[in-house]
Amino acid sequence: MILDAKIPSGPLAEKWDNHKAHLKLVNPANKRKFQILMVGTGLAGGSAAASLGEMGYNVTCFCYQDSPRRAHSIAAQGGINAAKNYQNDGDSVFRLFYDTVKGGDFRAREANVYRLAQLSVSIIDQAVAAGVPFAREYGGYLANRSFGGAQVSRTFYARGQTGQQLLLGCYQALSRQVERGTVKMVPKTEVLDLVVVDGTVRGLITRDLRTGEIRRHVGDAVVLATGGYSNVFYLSTNAKGCNATAIWRAYRRGAHFANPCFTQIHPTAIPASGDYQSKLTLMSESLRNDGRIWVPAKQGDHRRPGEIPEAERDYYLERRYPSFGNLVPRDVASRAAKQVVDEGRGVGPTGVGVYLDFSDAIGRLGRDTIEDRYGNLFEMYERITGEDPYQVPMRIYPAPHYTMGGLWVDYNLMSTLPGLFVIGEANFSDHGANRLGASALMQGLADGYFVLPYTLGHYLAPRMGQKLSTDHPAFAAVEEEVRERQAKFLATRGSRTVDSFHRELGKLMWDECGMARTAEGLGRALERIPQLAEEFWRDVRVVGDGESVNQSLEKAGRVADFFGLAELMCRDALARDESCGCHLRLEHQTPEGEALRRDDRFRHVAAWSYHGEGEPPVRHREELVFENVELTQRSYK
């Protein structure tokens, strides 16, 4: 199969405008005759559902949470990038584009990223109009900060809750459409499969998470805005409910899955404290501006941090990267932490963690300044760990945070399955092999507010009047499959809980397909995952019934899908025999331990297609063409 990204011709800066000018339009009177099924209500899904509703489409919107306001976009702390150049520091659309492509280690499409940088500007306008209370300067104008090592200040923020405020903006716009009747909101509902009729995605099978009712929904197009799959690692910064079921089911129905091995591990999360740990909490990256990262120089040094003299500490980032020091990019910092822990120099009760020490900064700047800058983060840390970071160094450790991989989409955000659009973190499109800080919110909102509303109309315009009913046999067939699967979970009555399987899978993925990967380790994982999946189907225990709230049953379905996805991630990581961005194959490093790309062989997107249970998936390539940037090797020495 040829992967046609449908990138418009013409100069980079004019591609989107030209493309928009030629997209087909749906007559205003006809829009309400189209039924759109939107899955997910985060920044991407929420903004898209609201915008499509405003345009007059009939939208049905699903989320697994009890309210669309709780989607996990809400947890984004840092901010949102936009090339406004309000600080007059030389920012521009091209510079944001360039930083994003380079940050993604040249594994993203130029045209997509450029469009993203262009739209970033309108996102801020829209968010402000919707009442998002961004931070302001005394003159009343919008404030910016520099984020994630960027050379310009282009990040807009609302305290440490930028994601929350942007999401509430979308949620409120969505609520307005619910009241108008253009959007029908269906909360506490999980999509369990997609219905494909004559090669086109036309519907969904859902389960009501309160009553267990399985329902059919028919539409003219389906949009997945279901977020990422970091929870394949069990412990991640994602919400407990985040899952890959919708995108995984779409993959099994024919949508290609792109770059599944591109997963971002964030360097500054609070370490797990024990086996019961249920999730990891992120601490803002900004802490690295003033904190110094170190571990004991000797292995097995169990002294308290204050008792370890300066000479016996190893400030390993400052030592290895003298010019960037503690501010090296996320992936470099994460890998370095893993290295010292693997050497047996980790700290804390579990030995899995490194110190992030503010005593120098407190000595230099005073406690008040530090409190001013990081007070709320220090409080959050103390709340969780019970330790006072003003007195003892914080302990941090990397945690899975974001997945750049996702369903393959073309320039119009449509997957390889006609009628199936994928937006936000759920698609693979804009971040390449590594995402820059404050860019996830930007992408979700660009897709939802400003891309999908145009490209979806283009798809729908020629499809007027193709009515279908849920009585079509395709719906009955998929519903039957879904019911059987649910029944199987309940009937197995094995000996292990769903969580115990999920933990085991997560640990395996963390070890073999986490921050540093090898052909050998990936081989081991590829051997073990199918065994574990088989054990799961044979020995899982789900208590209760399917006709009420049953979170074990919900989790069983999600974990069952994670097995398949985990296997595909390992296959992809193995096939991508190079290092790039967050994907580090130990076989391919520069002498300094940096990711070594092999542009001659891997300057492409890998998109996988499904060919049936037990059949190996097929790897397709979309070659990446760089006409506007020069491919360079990162160096942070």
Partner: protein, 260 residues
């Protein structure tokens, strides 16, 4: 540490539930409250019993999904803390804890500790927005917003919609939730055109949903994980009375609850 838990169990569709006693031995003080419930649930599943259903998602105190009443206090004894951020080190070995769902007419119990908070969504739908369709927006910096105003609006906007305010209110009132959204939008210049229609529409919806009246107990702000101030309720009262008694809004009023 070892704890004795009395947890509200209520099967789906049943009008009545009851407290059931569970022993929770070997609880690590570093666990969060929800992780403690996870551990209890894992044991229940092993014993073949139905685990206790409770709402949770982000587990970092921002999504507003979680929330149970611990010994009569919504989100438990630690101020400014959602249940997921409450850690077991704040309890003592041998403690016996009573864990109940939010209780209010506006929040019917679904099952065990899970309640239906759809009423909050419907209050927002009545008018908790600024009508700025995608594409309408002017250049962001064309509308300066004073730093103090933006900060105040943010104070109110921090509400996570968890419903603890309603759960703790002896009157089962949703005033703090509603007032916080009204303050967030009503403070900003963008929110002025709809300010008075909004307050009438949202207050009317709030009352229709069966929430109670405000006696200024201030229990709501005491349990609010985001410490949203009850002052906003006063502001809501003022805007509401002004809208109802002094402003001739003519047909505007009807439109406030109609298509926006």
């Amino acid at each position: 540490m070892n704890l004795t838990l009395y947890i509200w169990r209520q099967a789906r569709g049943e009008a009545e539930g009851r407290l059931v006693r569970y022993d929770a031995p070997d609880i690590n003080p570093d666990m969060s409250f929800l992780e403690m419930l996870d551990v209890v649930n894992e044991r229940l599943i092993h014993q073949g019993e139905r685990p206790i259903e409770f709402e949770h998602d982000c587990r970092e105190g921002i999504c507003g999904s979680c929330g149970v009443v611990v010994d009569g206090i919504a989100h438990g004894p630690l101020p400014a803390t959602a249940t997921c951020q409450l850690h077991m080190r704040h309890f003592k070995d041998g403690d016996s804890l009573t864990i109940e769902p939010w209780r209010a007419k506006g929040f019917p119990v679904v099952q065990d500790l899970v309640v239906d908070r759809g009423a909050f969504d419907r209050i927002i739908q009545a008018g908790g927005f600024i009508s700025a369709s995608t594409g309408n927006a002017p250049e962001a910096n064309s509308l300066p917003v004073g730093k103090d105003v933006a900060e105040l609006a943010m104070d109110a906007a921090e509400c996570i919609g968890c419903g603890a305010c309603v759960a703790q209110c002896p009157n089962g009132a949703a005033h703090l939730f509603t007032a916080a959204k009204l303050a967030h939008l009503g403070l900003l210049p963008q929110g002025q055109p709809e300010r008075y229609q909004r307050v009438v529409a949202m207050v009317e919806r709030m009352e229709q949903e069966g929430f109670g009246s405000c006696s200024n107990f201030r229990e709501c702000e005491a349990v609010c994980p985001k410490q949203v101030s009850s002052h906003w309720i006063s502001r809501m009262n003022r805007d509401y009375l002004k809208a109802q008694l002094f402003l001739d809004r003519g047909p505007e009023k009807k439109r406030a609850s109609g298509p926006g």
